[in-house]
Subunit: 300 residues, 2 copies
Amino acid sequence: MLAVTILGNNSALPAFDRHPTSQVVTMDDQIFLVDCGEGTQTQMARYKIRRSKINHIFISHLHGDHYFGLIGLLTSMGLLGRTQEMHVFAPAPLQDIIHLQLKVADVHLPYALHFHPLQQEGILVRESKFEVSCFPVFHRIECWGFIFREVRPFRRVNPEKARQHEVPSSFFDRLKWGEDYLRKDGVLVSNQLVTEPAAKARSYAYSADTLFDERVAASVKGVDMLYHETTYLKDLEQQAGKRFHSTTTQAATIARLAGVQRLLIGHFSSKYEKLSPFETEAREVFPNTELAAEGVTYKI
Amino acid sequence: MLAVTILGNNSALPAFDRHPTSQVVTMDDQIFLVDCGEGTQTQMARYKIRRSKINHIFISHLHGDHYFGLIGLLTSMGLLGRTQEMHVFAPAPLQDIIHLQLKVADVHLPYALHFHPLQQEGILVRESKFEVSCFPVFHRIECWGFIFREVRPFRRVNPEKARQHEVPSSFFDRLKWGEDYLRKDGVLVSNQLVTEPAAKARSYAYSADTLFDERVAASVKGVDMLYHETTYLKDLEQQAGKRFHSTTTQAATIARLAGVQRLLIGHFSSKYEKLSPFETEAREVFPNTELAAEGVTYKI
């Protein structure tokens, strides 16, 4: 199970009942919060996101529409009696802001809040069944994208064939990772004889706020689904560049260059009430594009 | 015209579609924002509050449910092209928080933001037709209440009588403030001969978050309407005291001691879904009590 649920798909200002950026990525029984604009805790309640499943929060950059809801969420979790540890991954100055806000309120959270400043491209969280990594994107201030990958064996054991070839079940886990089995009688059982290809491990990339840059395509190469911002329609390419944002055509071009399966677009400017032209324009370049709609879960 | 519109009537956590504390006070053609919990900008849009009329914001204290929406509102105003000056009155550390948040985002507001740290009881704003003052209340951290008063003459000129007694119209403004008129022929025209009592200048007090303390009654003595918090029903008086909050009975007692005309109660704990018991309990002590309902404007 890998899926993303959109809590906010708008840029900068709340408008037309669209909210600033936030989304949750579900991997198995864990939920990862990605960005946290103002009102995210209310959106979570509206869409019945289980906060107790969230132990990791990733903040791409320190423009308000991506994090002003974080301090409210963290303090509410405290008021609701949370005791589990929480890990926040974000640009370094966020730690000072949060600490200052807790200090002036004389609030002591009842849970441990671990702050991990984002410093370089690479893996942030590695657990048995998934990993999360970050990569730089190109915005007016320091900004990071995130990739969520399932970690799973790439072969599936055929137990009947394994028994025929006298491979003990204690070796099955190693078969799943592609090892051959050397029998005590010296016979080498080739992995391919007793396994089949497993379902592919899935991946999702969130590329945050960025101008059009082919390095983003390189970073997200081959993911199953890419979320790319489309603040503007294609006629405003110049404005997009000046503000370190992207257009529909640019987002779709990145998806094509990266060879992803699907493209999800969001971070729409408040100047647009109707969103359908975003989908139309992006599909001209990358047909498998969908608008990120609030409250909708996209399974990967 | 003096009126208050409730944008948020809940304490601490958003719950049951109730929002954290915020309200706007309208005096003639100006709007004053009082506290600004998370989501206030969205509540303003919902209830069609005209942001361009807001030039003064008052923050009672630095618990998040009273100010986490401020930075989002201030930056949105900038994005929407505001150029008018804005005055924020709040406990001193808020200035550091706002400056830090603007700095890390590399945001430069297109309008002047004047920060006025609250330091002592007294008048904060004095204009020709109104004044706003602050007074200390008694919470876990530094906390202030605010009083909004119309400034208006207390006599109304009867133009016919004034003419009969040969008072020139150029003296009418002074008549309104109670002066007698000395005619050139030496006759003293007593003010009461040519004026009548004017409508009383109205006043509204917001007493923020506070435990029960008779000094609050002294500070708000005689106002037309008092907003007093009632975080808890009366059976939780002990808990209220421990958390520096008040119960229904305590709020109503303050209203009675202060001799106010009307009491508005709010800041309800998220533990209560039904609010009618708050009204019932408060009215036992102070009959002219109303629940502060979101989106409702209370004229004073």
